[in-house]
Symmetry: C2
Subunit: 252 residues, 2 copies
């Protein structure tokens, strides 16, 4: 049985904890966080600590804290045989521990929305082949999609994820705002959002493009720009329309 210490108590830490709790092949032996209050969720289920000097021995120390604190935290750890792996999309592979790795789950996590971790892609990187194999094996206990990737691939994936998740969600929020102005329940758009995401998984999104920008339907584009009262939304509308038209060329 592999022993794991999770460092961090946020969204990623919580979902990792729940995923490992479900597999008999691993045991989370401790959760560390620098603020005690954040450990409330865990304290009746596992040993918790706010003291780095009180960390238990383990096979893996998984760091799920804010990106800009990962490096400093890892420098304070010094397990001789365990692998220290962070879970960030944008932090480089570290080298201050004896055994270093990355265990990056490519997913958007909310504490209160359950999800099936077996479908979450896990991107693995490590300083040695042996450590990569160990992390791959650990990943496979909770996910069906475990990939070894390079630092530069991980950086690109993280950037791509900002477009496909963070920016996409903001477009949903804009749509929600437009609906609210007309007292339209946002539910009305749910099926469309679902189908758009579904199609992107069946076919290349570049080939799925539809809408007034793609059709070069200037009459509708002008009407939409007139409807938008916010200068910011007009600018987003114009820029994305132009970008679609740059990609798809003339009306077809």
């Amino acid at each position: 049985m592999k022993r794991i210490v999770i460092l961090g108590a946020g969204n990623v830490a919580t979902h990792l904890f729940e995923a490992f709790a479900k597999t008999p092949e691993t045991e989370v032996v401790q959760v560390y966080n620098h603020r005690k209050a954040a450990l409330d969720y865990f304290r009746y289920r596992v040993d918790t600590t706010c003291n780095l000097k009180a960390l238990k021995s383990a096979d893996f120390y998984l760091i799920a804290i804010k990106d800009d604190r990962v490096e400093a935290l890892i420098k304070r750890l010094s397990p001789a045989t365990a692998i220290v792996a962070h879970t960030s999309g944008s932090v480089p592979l570290q080298n201050s521990a004896q055994h270093n790795g990355v265990f990056y789950p490519l997913q958007t996590f909310s504490k209160h929305i359950a999800l099936d971790f077996s479908k979450v892609p896990l991107c693995i990187e490590a300083d040695t082949t042996e450590n990569e194999q160990q992390l791959m094996a650990l990943g496979k206990t909770i996910s069906q999609h475990v990939y070894p990737i390079s630092t530069s691939q991980r950086k690109s994936l993280h950037l791509a994820a900002v477009f496909a998740c963070n920016f996409t969600n903001h477009l949903y929020a804009i749509a929600e705002h437009i609906c609210a102005e007309q007292q339209i329940p946002f539910d009305t758009l749910h099926a469309l959002i679902e189908e758009t995401a579904h199609k992107a998984q069946k076919n290349s999104p570049a080939k799925n493009q539809t809408g007034p920008a793609k059709r070069h339907d200037q009459q509708t584009i002008d009407a939409h720009l007139e409807q938008l009262t916010s200068a910011e939304l007009k600018e987003i509308y114009k820029l994305l329309t132009q970008s679609i038209q740059n990609k798809h060329g003339q009306n077809i």
Copy 2:
């Protein structure tokens, strides 16, 4: 049994035809299109015609052609008792027929991707209460989500749909492009795209926002801007980041 003539042979017309074909309460008696070749899909299953003067009698004439041709086509129809309804999100309710309506399916349709029409929201508008009731009843034979909406609500829904579907799909295409540059299969992002869409249906997207923009993580934002080589993509990244930060205020 309600008799329907569909005018048009594109994505919307095709999906409407398939949806009505599945219900015993309606019969599509004819499909019209101005180009004969586009009728190939239908010709072994229903009467087809390219001649407006050869239209069969029916209870409903549903117009699913390009937005800018709807008005002119409807002016050429003159059924005395039937309802003439177009299926466009952006064309106003017409008044040139005896009985006029709108039968707008709020969904993104691709000819070759099957979908469950019962989940497609249908937005209904008509010139009289009687005609609205008729169109609502027709809609309910193929969809579980049939709403009466006003012209101004429909205009806003169509605009919101551009953000939630067309622009969102373009962001997927950008993410796909970033992945391709690093030989990363786009599949790696599928679970993230799925979950982002899923969360938008569980919770307000405004509340779901995550990512470096929301966290005001300037180090990651700068690194991403440096990674992007295209001036256009840099501009989109900056504008959407700024818009998220305008909405969500200071780091929390």
